[in-house]
Amino acid sequence: MNIHEYQAKAIFNDSGVKVVKGIHCTSVDEALNAYDELNSDVVAVKSQIHAGGRGKGVLYDPKTNDLIMEGGVKIAFSKEEVGLYASSIIGKKLVTKQTGKEGKIVNNLYIESGCNISHEYYLALLIDREAKSVLIMGSTEGGVDIEEVAEKTPEAIHKIWADPLKGLESEDVVMFADSLGLKGKSKDELVEMVNALYAMFLERDCSMIEINPLVKSESGEIIALDGKVSFDDNADFRHPWRNNLRDLTEEEEVEIRANNYGLSYVKLDGNIGCLVNGAGLAMASMDVIKLYGSEPANFLDIGGGATRESITAAFEIILEDENVEGILVNIFGGIIQCDMVANSVIEASKEIGLDVPLVVRFSGTNHIEGTEILNKSDLNVYTATTLAEGAEKIVNLTRRGN
């Protein structure tokens, strides 16, 4: 789960991570009041969406697609400018390199006091899969794309790892601050911030915290000027407060609906719908469809606990996608029994009036019974014994009209 910058900064503030004062707004009026309340000559007017690259993003009118403004983060020097920028952002569509061309409608703004920057850094905490511990990563090259820095000047990136049982070693954190070239008060503040962020990472079950830029102010203060925080969904059960931070408009509605049925669904751009048990097999099914010359319309794992109800929901979700011209069902029965899936497929297709070609491949538990049930039914369904045969069949069937 991801949250907005303004929410991340509230958590930073609670966790002892220094930020500048800011106010969350959802309208132009609120933005104007925020300017008065902040009482700062200069303020930043920041679009709040979950995708990155906001500063270099472009705002469009969501209806006409006319260009409204370049830059989703603006520095305002007067109340008039705050009004101008806020009205050019709220309700508009922001396209960044991370949103795709469809962009995101901006419903939230963050008005933040100005800050005299002397240098911009990068700081992140994340899980290092290979080291199996929390990695703290910093760079003297802040405010830019970190992947670019990693590629062009890898020596500018510094890393330390926390010991999962002992925690962060204080000499490591001091060395980390040294490697970023910080001295005196700034060095002390960075050490304090890294320790505070690590504590927050553990306490809140984060999967990532990224601050880009982290800044040194002209008076030497170390301040988190941006904040991107992701939480580990597996730990939701011990963090009920997360519900209040969730912005459903940032999530795919259909993916949430699928989740409620125990399905794992991701929409893609192709024309062949897939219904598969198991994440690895679901990906492999997509890959094989592509090998036979078509594109998968979705990833869909029905999971080990699938029922007739969830399989019907899966068909409905696949068919909501107008691009779907055919469906491949690929089940390797383990816990799931193919005959149960066969009966569910028949009932689901009757219930929703399936009108695209359907190929079913069964293997594993009760696959003979399952295939027999389908072949004996009056359902217009093709059966296959291998994944390759199934993929080839559905690709050919959907090509007939072309």
Binding site: R129, S133, L202, V266, G280, I289
Partner: protein, 306 residues
């Protein structure tokens, strides 16, 4: 031989009185797996009947191991308690001559696994497989040793070792070996979580040292760099041929594909990179999982094993 489990392994089931523990415990016994007991805190002393066999429930791993001499534990405990079950098992095995822990549970918080894996590392005689995996199976003539949730009947004893991040895709690989007349020495599901115990390299090394295994099928998926590291390691250390497949060539970047670890992030962890690493390391690549059988035959023929 086979690796890590066989007909002599003595197996405990942690979470045996739960729905998963009961269901899969029964299937394990039906496959002739030597289940010697179970653990559910607070339910010690209960006697369960699994498919005609009486199974005793113990309150703790320490007690269960002391009473049964078990050397393997399989965990069907719910996600929020699973990492504690891993650590309990690790400490108990370490004090009693060592053992293997197989954690089936899906959805364990990642920081819980970071801590659990670090605790297991402190126990040099303990190995952890999983979590979020189908388990490990060594097929024999009549059933065998099935420690997990895979369907036993699709397997047969043979000379192919299988290691995979996936569940059902592992079964697909098993079916592929069967389709070309080959059986399996041991199949290991290492799981699809970003932080887990045993990795690809541990499995490859064990298969290399196992005299029953003559070739290996390795099934990876997008996310992380475990496949690349395994390929690099294999090119220097493996004499037996490996057939490799990676799921997720068509997965879009930045989207989690079911498994917590299956995500291309920052342009890293793509199937293409992994296939390229396989090819560079001399691994026999199957681009289509339905071709794993045929590629395996070629690998066996090329190396004079068929």
């Amino acid at each position: 031989m086979s690796i890590w489990v066989d007909e002599n392994s003595k197996i405990l089931i942690q979470g045996i009185t739960g729905k998963q523990g009961t269901f899969h415990g029964t299937r394990m016994i039906e496959y002739n797996t030597n289940v010697v007991g179970g653990v559910t805190p607070g339910k010690g002393g209960q006697k369960l009947n699994f498919s005609g066999r009486e199974i005793t429930v113990y309150d703790s791993m320490q007690e269960a191991i002391a009473r049964t001499g078990a050397d393997v534990s399989v965990i069907y405990v719910p996600a929020r308690f699973a990492s504690a079950a891993i650590v309990e098992a690790a400490n108990a095995f370490q004090e009693n001559g060592g053992g293997l822990i197989v954690c089936i549970t899906e959805g364990i918080p990642i920081l819980d696994m970071v801590t659990a894996v670090a605790n297991v590392k402190k126990c040099p005689d303990v190995r952890l497989i999983g979590p979020n995996c189908p388990g490990i199976i060594t097929p024999r003539e009549n059933g065998g040793c099935k420690v997990g949730i895979m369907p036993g009947f699709i397997h047969a004893k043979g000379r192919i070792g299988i290691v995979s991040k996936s569940g059902t895709l592992t079964y697909e690989a098993v079916a592929q070996t069967m389709s070309v007349g080959e059986g399996q020495s041991t199949c290991v599901g290492i799981g699809g979580d970003p932080v887990n115990g045993t990795g690809f390299i541990d499995c490859l090394q064990a298969f290399e040292n196992d005299n029953q295994t003559e070739a290996i099928v390795l099934i990876g998926e997008i996310g992380g760099t475990a496949e690349e590291e395994a390929a690099e390691w294999a090119s220097k250390n493996m004499s037996k041929p490996i057939v490799g497949f990676v799921a997720g060539s068509t997965a879009p970047p930045g989207k989690r594909m079911g498994h917590a670890g299956a995500i291309i992030s920052g342009g890293k962890g793509t199937a293409e990179e992994k296939f390229a690493a396989f090819e560079k390391a001399g691994i026999y690549v199957a681009r289509d999982p339905s071709e794993i059988g045929n590629v395996l035959i070629k690998a066996l023929e090329d190396t004079g094993r068929k």
